[in-house]
Amino acid sequence: MKKNLLQFLFVLLLLGSKAYAQSKTITGTVTGKDDNAPIPGVTITVEGTKTGIVSNADGTYSIKVPAGPQTLIFSSVGYITYKKLVTGLKLDVALESNQKALSEVLVVGYGTQTKRDNIGSVTSIGGKELSEKPVQNFVQALAGQAAGVQVTSANGVLNTPPVFRIRGTNSISLSSQPLIVVDGVPSFSGDGVSNNNPLSNINPEDIESVDIAKDAAGTAIYGSRAANGVVYVTTKKGKKGRAVVSIDSYYGESKVQRLPKLLDAYQYVDMKNEALKNAGLYNAATTYFALGTDAAGNTINTKWFDYIYRTGKIYNSTLSVSGGSDNTNYYMSANFTKEGGILQKNDFVRKSLLFNVDHKANKIISLGAKLSYSNEMNLQATSAGSLSGDAFAITGLGRIPLVSPPNVSPYNNDGSYNVSGNTLGFGANKGVSTSYYNIAPILDMNRANSENNHISSNVYFQVKPLPWITAKTNYGIDYIFTDSDQFLNSFQGDGSPNGSATDNFSKNKNWVWDNTIQFDHTFLGKHSFSLLLGNEQQYQKTTGFGLSRSVLSDNAFNIIQAGFTTNAASGLTYGENYLVSFFGRFNYDFDKKYLLTATLRQDQYSGFGFNKKKGVFPGAGLGWEVAREKFWTSIGADKVFSSFKLRGSYGRVGNNAGSGNYASYGFYGNGVFNTQPTLVATQTGNDDLGWETSTKTDFGFNFGIMGDRITGDVAFFKNNNSNLILAVSLPPSAGLPSRPSVNIGSMYNKGVEFTLNADAIRVKDFSYSPSFNISYNQNKILSLSPGVTSLTASTAGNEVTNINQVGYPISNLYIIRTGGVDPATGRRIFLNGAGRKVLYNPIGGAAAWTYEDGTTAPAISQSADAVNLTNSAPKVVGGLNNTFRYKGFDLNMLFTYQLGFSLYYGTNAGLHDQRFWNNTTDVLNRWTTPGQVTDIPKVFYNDNVSNGSTLPMDANVFNGNFVKLKTVNLGYSLPKSMLQKVGISSVRFYISAYNLFVITKYPGPDPEVSSNGASNTAQGIDRNTSANQRTITGGFSVKF
């Protein structure tokens, strides 16, 4: 590196020397520095001449040059241009990828910018960092890769949209997920409610880069929708040169990890009988638990986990061809993914095609298009009980194995399903009953599938009438056609006794048309101006309809078209919205030293009130490249810092994501009265409903040390979010049909981010480059609506678990405190609101709740006794990415971490519930004798209070800190000398691991969890959620 630099300087010195003589031929090979793979299509020119050639498919070249020392220039998209003074006849060149260099191109919205010119807080992640991870959608692969970005994979259900936050939670009732712009088209993104993530149409292999804009300077161009940050996804384009064919294929397996240890049948029977005895219910003749015997005469000891979880098999293949001529380039890829999840019947199958083409018709006109089609099947038999709203689903696969008795088999000894009425059969148990289904017939027969047909395409036309004017029009569509297909069998479960099928079809159509004109000019050599003016329109329309049919006529059939006797409408949805914007961005820099960016965007949105449709969103940033100042050198700072840029930005952006299409309207809706139609007020209007605003301040600096071998980035930020939309409670006597949506709440996020990248070691055969980031965020709610100081939030509408209180962070845990187990009686000790100990006696009645002195206490209740316990949002998140290279080997290890937060492990309440539910083995430590000190109360049959099932308690709250080895990727590239003979440019074999291990004290399966999806107000809950998977894959990629 150092040597290269010296040579480079030398070249500069000799610039302009033109010693012509006879010609000679220089030959060599161009390879990539990172992977040693040959690079075809590299333009090689002789400096100062018009002589130029392009490297061959195998990276070799041969160029005729005038005799004498000549400077060759090697340039190719995606690589740093390299110049070299050549004296000999042979020159092999290793080009450095520009992915991490300051000249890297950033996507900034309606254009690009070099990283050097950018003054926003933007993190760029190369496609390679995403494609090597075995994930269903690229968002899952972003975890830990950018400072200030929290990506939490909520559960082990395939294709669940992760919780995606940039610089904290920035809304209360609207979405806090960032705006995702794919190739210039703001796209549908997941809501966490279904396992159908619309972003899964993008094959991670096809991604060129993901740029995450966090501050006002980076996001203000998307003004009204930028409050949660903007993520620009750019798919791959062809590069000039011969066609490159690339095949990437892998196979892998996923397994569940860190499941709780449950009682086996023997322990279970003993424990439940003890509980029956303690409750005075045990009767050796009529009421007891007992071991059963299977057909072979063995004791039934059912491991219910084995019926729920499996080894998932993953196949993934991508074929692409890309290339280009001087005027036209193209990229085409096809992908097939078939991924089996760790849950039975949970599969994800994707077939996708992508075609990108760019053509330069002449000096003035260029045009291009993207065509993308994807079919995604999200398959499952039944709810996993893990998505938002499903935590208490009776068929939830996360909970079923925890509550099903291990001494009962899902099958009778004759092989038939073991059921009693519409529940699991009781086996050898007497006088006790189960109230959960036998999951086996449900897994065998039910269906809860969702299929997407997703078309995402755009076309552009660009005119450059003068070199400094670029006018561009771009039209894009994002169409998703979703078919949800559910079947509930008639034999047992939610469909019993009649059977039912529901099929809903929905069309989500989105078009975007934007027109921009950009002026770039440099005056007097040092004053560079750039002005972008634009207009954008986006229109979305959603329509849906479906059929819900019940009472299946013939059990041989199970599809919606079969015979059913009862029909009803289902899935009727209709909505449209329209956003129209005018915007401008002005960039100015003086001598690349002083940089200014100012943006202004005016948006009008159909969903807002008549008086507030319009929003104006300004943003500005300043940058100062201090390292270019003379004093920097004079004080010797240049010896430490090869670059140093101070930057700051301030702006006001907005949020409308998740606000209903008609939220501002006063509505009347139809009903029926004695068979005649009715019409009545159904929604309260608010003509003043408008944008949520986020005022973003960002200050920081970027630096490079040792010729930018080490680069870093420090940012301090504050997002003041105001006008947050809340459904405001008005006096009930006003008789309004609903709580109107009003811009009324406020909240801030502030914090600091630090990123450090290093090209730490680079010797002949070995290199090591780590990248580290850490960010700290503090959130505080400043105001809610009048008369309201806190809003509680519940898990799946069932258990109140969170509180959002003025003066505290959003989504704190709202929990009752406990004081252990009373050694004298084995009773659970709760603390009431005043902190006084209250003992619970599961015998119930008047004596159920007593103070320590034995006097009767009011029953503990959440509304009276729960406290705002602690924060559930991590204070610190980040990652450490390590890339090693040794000869043909490469190794990448990504660690991610989240620190400073607590989780409510609600599942743990169920794991100690003293109904017929199974328990974890720590229940073996239950209290049995006076004086015994333990944290498990005396078991008492049907007790669901002492364990926290009915009252969320702090004994089930745990620190969630974790460090994960999120991904490991180890590859080996065959030596190119070997490959050249067979016309292959590169072959790489690799193995990858995802979620390899986690270091945490959290007792649940995974501290990276969210039972309530992307909910703003009910984070940090792990309630009956299925565990996350560990995936190991192996594959190869070939280029020729």
């Binding site: 003068l466 449209e576 159909s606 009347y668 809706g669 009265f673 019409l679 009930p732 009003v742």
Partner: protein, 494 residues
Amino acid sequence: MTMKKTLLIILSLGVVLNYSCQKEKLYPVSQTQVSNQDYQPFTTPARILSQVLALYNNLRGGQLYGSRYIVYNEVKADNYINSSNNGITAFTVWNATIGGTDSQITGLWSSGYSTINNCNLFIDGMVAKGNSVVDAATAKTYVAEAKFIRALVYYDLLQLYARPYADGSGSKPGLPLRLTGNSSYANYDLARSSVADVYAQIIKDLDAAETDLPSTYTTGTPAVLDAVANTTRAHKNTAIALKTRVYLSEQKYSNVITEANKIVPAVAPFVAPTGVPNALQSDITKVFTTPYTTTESILSAPFLTTETPGGQSQLCYYFYANAKALGTAEFNINPTGVVADANWKTTDKRRGFIYTSGSKIAMSKFPTLSPYTDWVPVIRYAEVLLNLAEARVRSTNTVDAQAIALLNAIRGRSDATTVFTVAGFANSTALADAIFQERNIELLGEGFRNADLMRLMLPIPGKGLLGAIPNTDPRYIWPMSGDELLYNKLMTPN
């Protein structure tokens, strides 16, 4: 740049700008709901009629006549014993421990005011727009229906959330009196009017309703009485009948008599001489069976298999069978309540509404199990007769012969063996008591008992292990809705 090029660019810019904003898309028209902008719900006769029907639909909602208003007024008094201990199905109403933030207190309050607001919105909208869409006569009757429903709901709310009129002649805090429609975000703080003021408004609305309501609803050609409409929609007699109830609550007995005389002849047979020929049926059980449209039912809330009361909001569920086992209900009959009355003979047809199975006693006046399609009576002609009878006795303080005739009409149709005579009563108080008890028997399970006790400032008798609640006790009336106190800065607690 050549002229041509410049022109081209300017032209294309012009085209782009021309299509740069599609204004109409900023103002989308919902295809599933009617916006209230520019009184759109009042633009067609069909929409207006649909709104009128929606008001009745409000009235039959679960919190009001779907069941809960009736259930609360029954179980707050003395004829029932709670069996379910379920805090959301009136257990705490029954044992008088309910708090103001309880969903039962806040739910009925909200539901009542939602109905009132819909009436207000309708009345306002008719003035602003609807009167120009439907003919004047139709407009008048529609508005009269809205006023009738508004009056009824204000009356209902007074019975639970305010002190009786008798306490200080209506001088106690009543309800926030809202007479204009609310449809958007605004400041809605409003103080309570006095009980007397609210009653005055109720009477004002009912007087107007009486004037403008149709005498009858008819159907077909030649027109015949439309029994369904005459049972499910208000007509003149409905307004008059309700006035007898309202004036009785105010102890304005002479007014009760004046109103009742409009629809009750001086002597039997008791058939309304004008309007719908409302009359006492010879067999009370016919009133409570399909088709539920006898002329005794002056107003009822209809239910069908496709239009059922909400979950835990069915009278049958509360009083008869909350599961398939008959008699297993949220509330069973208090054996020491009205059923203990020895003068209520076992042969009395109304004893047929008392279901006994072992030690379980339940009320089977509303016997239809799921989907619970019993129609719920709001006003029955029998009540009007009892209102009149009681008013006559209490206003004249005599053993009034007409009152006895009315009493006999009620008793006699179910129990021909019992005949009251003037001689049978020692004084007017004894007669008043007999009428009051007859009311208790006749209207059992129809939501009168609590209001009847309170209008006379009588204590709520004890039941089970619970003691009596005197009229000085704060538990005598319900606490004010906690939500109202929280969000209405001018609201005051009970």
